[in-house]
């Protein structure tokens, strides 16, 4: 039995589970959801016909039709392209997003030996009766101390996909698109990194798992929505959201693509290679939603659901595990885990929906407008956010924590 738990806790297993159970279905459905939602926002109906026999589901199967079409389209490689880089570019743009998902905690830690019983937070915090908590499965692929820095580093590589695609295509428009893709990265990347530093200061951690579990203060339950960082870092949230939309290369910041002028860095691509760029864009949306959800909205936490059940009015001290006051509705561990995993999915879906809403509301920015926004507004604001957060932390919350 031990070997089963070992396999389940193996990073590759969790990665496959995360990609197959959450990321790919969400990204595929987003391709349909975007058309459907934009139609709803514009008083239209959107695609609602795709069906397999009588199974119609309001056209949600549209992504299957899209996928089948892309697979069977001709894989056309124009003359004079750099064949190696041309083939490499779609992979370069989709792989970093998959890699970056390694840091996202998509559920709580599962303790297989106490699935049917109610967890005791005190025992969990003090480390007594370790046999109950043995063979734990942490629903996070890599727990690394520099988690969000890892995400910045890896997702920046995705830009090479676009740039290399533009260069390898032997096409002036594609090259312009690729160049714009890298110049756009110059605009948002600095502000994006610094806008999260306030959150790092508040929680004292760079590790998304810790940020999601603990929240802003250890003397409140991690599941208390007031403990989530949207309340403690509202400026950081807005700044990071703006920069993250620029990261996904979609409207209002879809400068690398432009249907009326340059088509974009993937102008020479067709079939499944183009589909990979398309999918990478949607997976990035899911990823950005997952990061925002983890950092600012408590990750997999269900409001007021602690490890032992719903607790109204009281709280669990996160260091000692002692629960104080309130009325508790105890739930078995398995139910709690399921609820929390579902909460993560729902939060990510809602944040994806909000990104689509922004994409279909705002007109696009010019490249110089994005430069102005990134360097003259986002960067000073995020620096000021860091300063103010640090000052408040120093003056009112007892200075830096010593781990």
């Amino acid at each position: 039995m031990d070997i089963v738990y070992k396999i389940l806790d193996f990073p590759a297993t969790k990665w496959v589970f995360l990609i197959i159970a959450l990321v790919m279905p969400l990204a595929s459905i987003l391709t349909w959801m975007e058309r459907r939602q934009s139609a709803m926002m514009q008083d239209r109906l959107g695609p609602n016909r795709a069906n397999i026999g009588p199974i119609k589901l309001k056209g949600i199967l549209h992504f299957v039709a899209d996928a089948v079409k892309m697979i069977f389209k001709e894989d056309f490689i124009p003359a004079n392209v750099h064949r190696g880089l041309f083939a490499l570019a779609p992979i370069l743009s989709i792989a970093p997003v998959f890699i970056a998902f390694a840091i996202i905690p998509f559920g709580p830690t599962i303790y297989p030996h106490s699935l049917t019983s109610t967890l005791d937070p005190t025992l969990l915090a003090t480390g007594q009766s370790p046999e109950l908590f043995a063979d734990s499965i942490r629903l996070q692929i890599f727990q690394i101390d520099f988690g969000l820095i890892f995400y910045f580093a890896v997702l920046t590589l995705a830009n090479y996909g676009g740039t290399i695609a533009g260069w390898a295509s032997y096409n002036k428009w594609a090259l312009l698109g690729g160049l714009r893709s890298s110049s756009q990265m110059m605009s948002y990347e600095v502000a994006m990194g610094i806008s999260l530093m306030g959150a790092f200061l508040v929680t004292g951690s760079l590790e998304p798992g810790a940020i999601a579990t603990i929240g802003a203060s250890t003397s409140m339950s991690g599941s208390n929505p007031l403990n989530w960082l949207w309340l403690w870092q509202p400026v950081g949230l807005v700044l990071f959201f703006t920069a993250a939309i620029a990261e996904t290369k979609r409207a209002p910041f879809d400068i690398p693509e432009g249907e009326p002028e340059i088509i974009g860095y993937f102008v020479e691509y067709s079939g499944l290679r183009w589909g990979l760029f398309f999918l990478a864009e949607f997976i990035e949306i899911v990823f950005i939603a997952a990061v925002i959800c983890t950092v600012f909205f408590g990750g997999w936490q269900v409001p007021f659901l602690d490890a032992d059940g719903f607790r109204i009015g009281g709280y669990v001290d996160q260091i000692t595990g002692v629960s104080t006051g309130g009325s508790v509705w105890y739930l078995p561990h398995a139910i709690v885990v399921l609820l929390q995993f579902a909460a993560f999915g729902i939060k990510v879906l809602l944040l994806c929906w909000f990104q689509l809403a922004i994409r279909w509301t705002l007109p696009r920015f010019r490249a110089d407008q994005l430069m102005n926004l990134g360097w003259k507004i986002l960067l000073p604001l995020s620096l000021a956010n860091v300063m103010v957060t640090a000052l408040i932390k120093l003056l009112f919350m007892g200075g830096p924590e010593t781990p």
Binding site: Q37, R44, L45, V238, T361, L362, L373, I377
Partner: protein, 234 residues
């Protein structure tokens, strides 16, 4: 040239020339319009825009579809405020009702005996602006009729549905009142309407050929049709 250029700039919303220096005609003071401080971050505009789009989304997402009747009266104030605003017509199940004066496909009318009323006078191919009508006349065999079309074809791909052929017809042989639009075809040849297909849509016409003749002003009795043969049907 310079003066007209200045005027051109003033007329537009672009940079406004406030003053021109005396010493050098090219040095001038230009007023630069910068966005208001509240507009710089785009936050207010974003929130306002999101408010509008999300209002539409919520309404269209949660409220039921309008009925086909409500959609037909597009633009009219909505009667039921608990219906959404989607105007899409679900085509194969629902169809847009055509306006009353929509003409549609041609049809050829028949005499009492079921023969085609057309006398191959060639008025309609002459007036047709799209040159889509082909008529090859032949002897009718009936000395009262003299001519009839051996071939009467209309290329519906060229027809512009102007209705001039109907106005030109002296004997009510061709009408455009079916209200059907041209059917989609897979082969261009199938888009050509033949005499038989247009007669298939036609009915017997009781119109008197030739009208009332020279006595139309006095309102007297209609002149008997001088060629006869089909005037006895009124």
């Amino acid at each position: 040239m310079s003066a007209s250029h200045d005027h051109h700039e003033d007329a537009h919303d672009g940079p406004k020339v406030i003053s021109v220096a005396d010493r050098h005609p090219r040095s001038r003071t230009i007023q630069v319009v910068r966005p208001e401080p509240r507009d710089v971050t785009f936050l207010a505009a974003t929130a306002k825009g999101l408010g509008i789009t999300l209002k539409h989304f919520a309404r269209n997402f949660f409220l039921p579809l309008k009925s086909a009747k409500d959609r037909a009266a597009a633009g009219a104030p909505q009667e039921d405020k608990w219906k959404n605003e989607i105007e899409t017509v679900q085509y194969p199940e629902e169809k847009v009702t055509y306006p009353e004066r929509f003409r549609g496909l041609h049809r050829l009318m028949m005499r009492d005996d079921g023969n085609v009323r057309c006398v191959a006078c060639m008025c309609c191919p002459t007036v047709c602006p799209a040159h889509c009508i082909t008529i090859i006349p032949e002897e009718a065999g009936d000395k009262n009729v003299e001519k009839r079309p051996a071939v009467f074809e209309i290329d519906e791909l060229r027809c512009v549905v102007c209705g001039l052929c109907v106005e030109a017809c002296p004997c009510d042989a061709i009408r455009m009142d079916t209200g059907d639009h041209a059917k989609p075809v897979e082969d261009r040849a199938n888009a050509i309407e033949t005499k038989e297909s247009m007669l298939g849509r036609g009915i017997r016409s009781i119109a008197v050929q030739g009208g009332e003749g020279p006595n139309w002003k006095s309102g007297g009795p209609a002149q008997p049709p001088h060629r006869g043969g089909h005037g006895h049907d009124h």
